[in-house]
Symmetry: C2
Subunit: 136 residues, 2 copies
DNA sequence: ATATGTGCAAAGGGTTTGCAGATAT
DNA sequence: ATATCTGCAAACCCTTTGCACATAT
């Protein structure tokens, strides 16, 4: 919990219970949308309002605490800010795995005449677990 | 125009004027959101309604005629269905360039234990034109 | 002490829906 | 001929906003 407080303060945000709760929820889930955060966070803080979540999601994005993961045909999810990475999105179970962008992969993304700031890579397919299930 | 008719029929959709107009708009723009399609299409067909665009965007996605390009912090854009490719999104002028995924790049996306169906790669940065401008 | 954050309820705006008339096949 | 599509208006629901009270620093 103290980690979230530090994270917020480091990024010029006051550490309120609402914000640390939201961050905890995002951190535990890995990738999570607004409604799911709301459901999750209400368990400990029933009074925490949806409006507060919306306000803080915007604020925490602006202050580089979290980042948006736009999703095909559904609401954006959010994750804690970290280095660029690849999302492996399972179309069967919905789970999202992170996969590192290795140095060799990074070179591949180096496209001439384009000054890259950040990469957003979503790979849709079937995860290992679901591949096994469909074999049965 | 006849191309759009063929494209629609090939994918089990009736070829209405509304649909060909929407496809023409998407094709010309390359990447375009719903409101922009509406503005564009109204010039030739003032009566064409937003509701019709929404209905058809959903339908044409389902029938593999177009695909969604989710965007960070803004409304999704749409493009004609084509092979996976990389989007180079300029954070300065907003333009989106397509970049081919070469065979070597494709191998890089081959992540073990994940059965890839389709890749969605958005690279945010500064395009060549805008790099030149900021040098002046 | 005070600037900032929160919760509530209302407003706003984008998207969807139902239906009667129109259209593609 | 008929199943499907369109346009309109209303409904819906997600997101934002304003304000009085509460809280972090």
């Amino acid at each position: 919990m103290t980690n979230y407080i530090t994270l917020l303060k480091k990024n010029d945000l006051k550490a309120t219970i609402q914000r640390t709760s939201i961050l905890k929820s995002i951190d535990h889930a890995g990738h999570i949308n607004i409604d799911e955060i709301y459901e999750d966070v209400k368990e400990q803080h029933p009074a925490l309002s949806l409006a507060t979540i919306y306000k803080n999601i915007i604020l925490m994005q602006q202050n580089n605490v979290i980042i948006e993961v736009p999703m095909n045909g559904e609401k954006s999810k959010f994750e804690l800010k970290k280095d660029d990475h690849i999302h492996l999105i399972c179309q069967h179970c919905g789970e999202i795995q992170d996969s590192k962008i290795t140095k060799e992969k990074e070179q591949i993304l180096n496209i001439k005449n384009f000054q890259l700031n950040n990469a957003q890579i979503n790979l849709y397919g079937v995860c290992q677990k679901c591949q096994r299930i469909s074999l049965k």
